[in-house]
Each structure stands twice: as structure tokens, then as C-alpha cells.
Subunit: 473 residues, 2 copies
Amino acid sequence: MDFSAFDAYIEAHIEDALADLIALCRIPSVEGRKEALGEAVAKVRELAASAGIAAQSVAPRADRPPIITGEVGDTGPLLMVYNHYDVQPEDPLDAWETPPFEPTLRGGHLYARGVADNKVNLVARIFAVRAWNAVYAALPLRLRFIWEGEEESGGEQLAAFVDARHEWIGEAEGCLWESGYRDDSGAPVISLGVKGLLCLELRCKTASSDAHSGQGGLIPNAIWRLINALNTMRAPDGTVTIDGFQERVVIPSTADLALLDPLPWSAEEYRERYGVDMLVGGRTGTEALKVLFFGTSCTINGISGGFEGEGTKTVIPATARAKLDLRLVPNLQPALVLDLIRTHLARRGYEDIEVIPFEGNTMPARTSPESAIAKAAVEALYAVGGVAPIVYPISPGSGPMYELCQAHGVPAANFGCGWSGSHVHAPNENIRVSDFVEGIKAFGRLIEAFPRHAASTRNERATASDSPPALRQ
Amino acid sequence: MDFSAFDAYIEAHIEDALADLIALCRIPSVEGRKEALGEAVAKVRELAASAGIAAQSVAPRADRPPIITGEVGDTGPLLMVYNHYDVQPEDPLDAWETPPFEPTLRGGHLYARGVADNKVNLVARIFAVRAWNAVYAALPLRLRFIWEGEEESGGEQLAAFVDARHEWIGEAEGCLWESGYRDDSGAPVISLGVKGLLCLELRCKTASSDAHSGQGGLIPNAIWRLINALNTMRAPDGTVTIDGFQERVVIPSTADLALLDPLPWSAEEYRERYGVDMLVGGRTGTEALKVLFFGTSCTINGISGGFEGEGTKTVIPATARAKLDLRLVPNLQPALVLDLIRTHLARRGYEDIEVIPFEGNTMPARTSPESAIAKAAVEALYAVGGVAPIVYPISPGSGPMYELCQAHGVPAANFGCGWSGSHVHAPNENIRVSDFVEGIKAFGRLIEAFPRHAASTRNERATASDSPPALRQ
């Protein structure tokens, strides 16, 4: 198919697309900021309308940011598209070169909190539909958008939403996931799944109040106790040592590991990008890559306790707390891991340490590279840039992919407009404007490619079922 | 000697004494609050003047709170009296029942930050001199007060002050140390020394900025690294495991341990007072008491890093820090322990963790129970309350006793107006007014007793030197 008119439209109207993106990034749609979340909802609906997408807000909980659904297209296979309009909190604020909610163009990059994760993709995909409508007669597929507002905070609304719509979701023959990026070589990346996620807080209280540290030899210290407990959960080389945890990890198959072979990943470049002298456990090369794609992690996101001001205070703190997240691979479900942690701590005499899960933990999910969405994504990206995309077996990030897709039999894959220096979840988050342009073009190619691959996947299935199973004699 | 007129004066004027104490406690003389520290200096000088004590401010560093010296008495042995006019910071503020700098009388107690540590003693000792002057002809001893303003913050001025006055300080035949208390049974406590103190901060930086926790398996986490390092420094049972540390601890002698025998200490009551289920390492009885008086401790006073707000942030923190204090017994000098820690961490590959000492670390110090100040203190306390005081071989707290006293050959002991529920360095710090009254009376007895014991100590020394050593034939 000839995309020259489509591409010409995008190039002629890129300032409009950029204006849409800047307007959306200007809204500080962070958990708890109700007014901003409301503005983001209005903006998403306005963008949808501009592309002829019929949008609807659904709010299982009235006090929370709604899920917005959007539908467009009358015929062809159904492709689901998932994005979110909320963003990570912006702190540490002083590490930003320009304010996180004042989107700034600098050297071909756009800097803003949430621009890469994932507002750029939300805008690019809608804008591609607008371009398609402007240039072509009709869409060759049906698109069903799901835009949620609790991805970064792990709200429970999406679960309630999908529970009530198992068949509606199952109608989709594939799903394009929220975001993606180009790696260091500039090649676009497709990920066929996500790691699972469990976020929790550990709280420790050892005495009725803080005490003078002259009693430090005898009065228990909540920080020491918390630290001692944490140290039983992870070895310094990064291995999670929670009882029963490693036993449940699905060891990558030879076929899984073969997916790593073509990856152009360099541990050295990776270290340099993050400004790190050594990777966890001193890992290098394929060993590091295996951890990234098939490994688990237990991260302390934050810790606090006692006197945190300047100078000294000779005090024994009575309370301390730590926030943790665990990235999970099959077959580690969040609820199971939570149980394992509680049992692990209790066995070691730490039953007094409270283990409090946050909302919105997610399952690990994987998609076959033979699925229509995976094949169409590869074709679309190759068609735009002329560079073979890199296919990752799983994304090191997490999201409710299992809950929204695999649980309903919908294969999901991702690609998007970030790059390896996007600083997702960190200060100075940014995208390159050139990637934004290519991202809009790539979604146009996906609109064309997905129906073909969906049809051939259906044919394969049909052919396979032509041979009825042999009856037992 | 008959003290009835002295005691009558105190009882008749106790409201004046209490007014002095309340006025001093109203001043928030915390490190860094220059105006309040200046007010405290003026108030101390005003109180000194009211008792005929000639006071002088000495400030080796003009930007810091001065040391005030005060002298009174023309004849007799010289007794040094050490107190400080600064107090600990008041946080956590919301744990106070009444504001820390609005001294409040409630149920016979006076609540205020710094009242027990140690403004009550500063006021009681001055007021005793005032009472003595009002009732008797002349003081039978010379008193030299040293009031400093950096005890809680560990300033370096006292070191500079004493370095320049080795002989002036060495003239004293004893020193009464800043504060003391009554134990659970109501018996007054005398401590013959202090533990040493080393305060420091550990800082860890693992990457150029925070990263998304999807990379948690590979990107080093500053909190985990700091925690891993901390865990090599102390066992969960409280034993300090810094290389070379335990080897230098002077093991208590049989005579030292015998000092513990008469102590009426109960681990159970101690636990209850602090609201603690179990002491560190599950210690009980004499084992716990040995740790309290002859043991060391490594306390984490505070820790911070990463996301400390509400909710979740899936981030790998690039920086983390912890504040520590170590309580030291002979022969652990702070400078030596600092070296041990640096070597210990470097040996384990943690040379990237910065070890930053705070100012004002102090040496451990011990005093003989046969010294004039020890004997006079026992006599003075017994004379007031009719209860034999409890003599501790060392105080679990710390202070510059070695630097100010033992380094110049001056034996030092303490007693004071606190009680076992004074909550020193903690919210709701308080004293009992009845202990304040007895504390003033006790200092009066010390004024009378010290010259006698100093003379007999001198006689003993003289008698001992009457027998010249036998000459080798």
C-alpha cells in the first residue's frame, strides 16, 4: 500500500500534533491531583473527537479517574489499543533542568513528565487515525481504545472494568500496548509481554517512643530491625531470597533464550547510560540480559526512619518503614508472593513487621511471536524506518497486560515513541520529536497490516482444526 | 553540720527557683537557633549573678554559642561543675502532650525540652549557692562552673577551650558532671564515667540519577547497597562486628563486674518503661546490665533515601544516607573507630560509601569510686534522702568528661534531678518538682562534704608517699 499521502499529511500537520502533545503534557495528571486528572480526561476526549473516535467515560469508582473507551471503524478485525493519561510524580523536582509540567522543546527533544510514559503514544495513535480519516476512505479495521488514569498508581478500577467485560474484551484479536522505545542503535523495540509487579510497604515499630541512644545496646532499634529483615529477602548480588520464591520462577527455555541472541544489547552502553560503575552482582553480557528479561528483582523504592534532618540526634528510632517493589516473571503471581513474604518474615521471627500491599499489583504476561499483533507490529515498524525492529520476549517494565489481555485470550505487544535516553520515571523525561513523527506513521502502517495478519492467523487456526483429533478406537 | 536553715531557705524560696527553671526552659536553645542560644547565655549569666558567681563568656569561635565560666568562693579545694545550656531538637513535635518550649507543670512534674538534660541541674546548683550565701557566712570551697552551649551538637569549642587551659583545669580536685537521675526505686544514681561517642553519616551513591525499577535486577540501588554495608557492621543480636572493634574493648574486670551486684536494676521494669517486648539479642538480667554499662552499641539514628511520600513510586534510588552513633568503652577512641569503619567497609568492597564524622565526638572516661568527688557525692545524696545512692561504674550516656576532666587528672562523677521516666532526648521530657528540691539540697551537702573528702584524699596520697620505695641493693 502507498503511504505517501498519509505521510505527507503528517508532515504538513506535525505542528498540530505537537501542540496536542504539549497541551496534554502541561497537565500534571499525577495520582491524587483530582483537578489535573479531570483536565486530562477532557483533553483526551477532545483529542478523540478530533479523530472521529466515539469516546465514553466509565468510572466504577466515582472518586477516581475514569477509564475512557473510544471506538472507531465499522468493519474488519478488532484491535484494542491501551494507553493511560496519568503520569508518575515529578520529584525530585530539583533534578529537572526545566519544570516537569512546562513542556520544553530543546535540541529536537521534548522534555516533560509523562511525555515518554506514555502521553506521546496516546497522542500519536489518535493523530494517526485523524490522518487516516483525512487521507483515506475508511478504516480497514475496528479500533477500540482504552485510556485509563490509574496506571502509575495501580488503581483497582481496571480490574473491575475488565471483570465485567470479559466477552467484550475477548472480541479483540490483538492489543497494542501503551508504550515502547528505540534502543541505543536507533532500532525500534517490540516487547511481547510484561513482568508482574507487587508493591508493598514494610513497617516496623519496636518501642512506644524514641529513646536516648545511650540505651542502644538494649533498646531495639526499628531501623536496624527493618534492615535485618530486609537483608533476609535479597542477597547483595540481587538474588531474591524469599523462601519459596525462586522455586516458582519458570526457567527460560532454550527457545526463550534464543530470543536474546539477536538483541544488540551492550552491558557497557547500558551502564554508561545509567551512570553506573557496575551492574548488580557484577553481571555482564548474556547473564545481565537474562536478568533483564527473565529475572526477578526486589527493589527498595524508599526508606525512612528516625532523624533525617541535618546534624546529629542521638536517638533510637521506634519506627521505620520501607517501600518495595518486586518484578515478577511467570509463575509468580503478586498474591502468592505477598504470602511468601509474610511467611518468610514470620519464620525468622519478624512477624511484628507489618507487610502492607499497595493497590494495583499486576500479573506477568507473555505473548507469542507468531501472534497477529506481534507480526503486524514488526511489519509496521520495518515499513516506516527500514530497520528491523528488535523483539524482546518481555518488557522489563510492568502493567496490567495480563489482566486486560491475556486473561481474555487477547495477545498483546507494544511499540512506541520513546528512546533509550527517555528517562522514564526519572527527572528530565523526554522524547525525540523525530520519533514522534515516525510513531504516528508506524501506527498508520499497523492499521493496514493488522487485518492481513489477523486473517492469516485465523486461517492457520482453521487449517489446524481441519484435522479432527483421532478418535480412540 | 546542721542544714535546717539551708533547707528552710530552699523551701521558702522554691517558687523562685522554679521560676528560674521555667524561664530557662522557655528558651529553645537548640543548635542553630542563634537568637535563643544568645538568650540562654544572658539568662545563665543573670542566674549566676543572683548567686554572686562571677561569670565570663569565652567564645573561641565568634559564630558559635560561648562557653561561660563562673567562679565563686575564696578558699578551700577547687570543685569544677559542668553543665550546658543547649538542648536537643524537639522533634517529633506531634508526640509532645504540651509544647516543648512552653514549660508546663502537671501532676508534680515539669514538662519541657531540656528540663532534665540538663537545665534543672544548671539551675539547682546555682540556686544552692544562692541559698548558701543567704544562710551561711562563706563557702568552704572554691567552685568553678563551666556552662557550655554545644553539648548536644558536639561543637569543637570545648576542646579548644580545655587545650588552652590544661593547668587551670588541673587545679580542680574533682568535677561534678552535668546531670543525673533517680532510678525506678527512687534511689539517686551516681555515675563514675561516661561512654565515648562517635557520630557519623554514611552516604551512598550508585548511579547518576534515579531509574525505573523495571531495571531493578541490574541497576544498583543505593538503599540496598547502604543496607548491605550496614549489615556487615552489626549482628542482629546487637554485637558490633566492625573489624578490629571487639578486640580493643577492655573486658570488665571482676572488680568492675562486682559494681553491678548491688544494682537494683530489673530488665522487666526497664522493658516496660521503654514499651519494648524484648531487649536487643533477647538479653535479660546481668547479661543485659553488662551491655548497659560495659558494652558498646552501634545505633542507626536515622535513615533516608528514595521515595518517602505516600503511595508508590517504582523507582531505583540513586542515593541514600544513614546517621549512626557508636557508644564506646575503653579503649575505643572515636578517631580509631572511624578508621576501623573505613577499613572495614573498604575491605568488603564498599569504599564508595562515604563515611563522614560529625563534630564533637568524645572519649570514654572512668573515675575511681575512691575519689573525693565520688565519696562526697555518695555522702551528700545519702544525707538528703536517707537512701543509699546507687553507684554505676559508667553512665550509658556520653559527654566530654574525658576531654574536660580525666585528660587533666580531674576525677568526675555525676548526680542530678532527673528520674527514670524523664524521657531524655525524647518527647515529653520532664522532671519531678520534688527531685528539683532535693537536688538543690544535695548540692548544698556536696559543698560541705567535698572539702573534707578532698583533704582526706590528699592525706592518703601524702601517707602513701611517706614510705619511699626500697632502693635496689
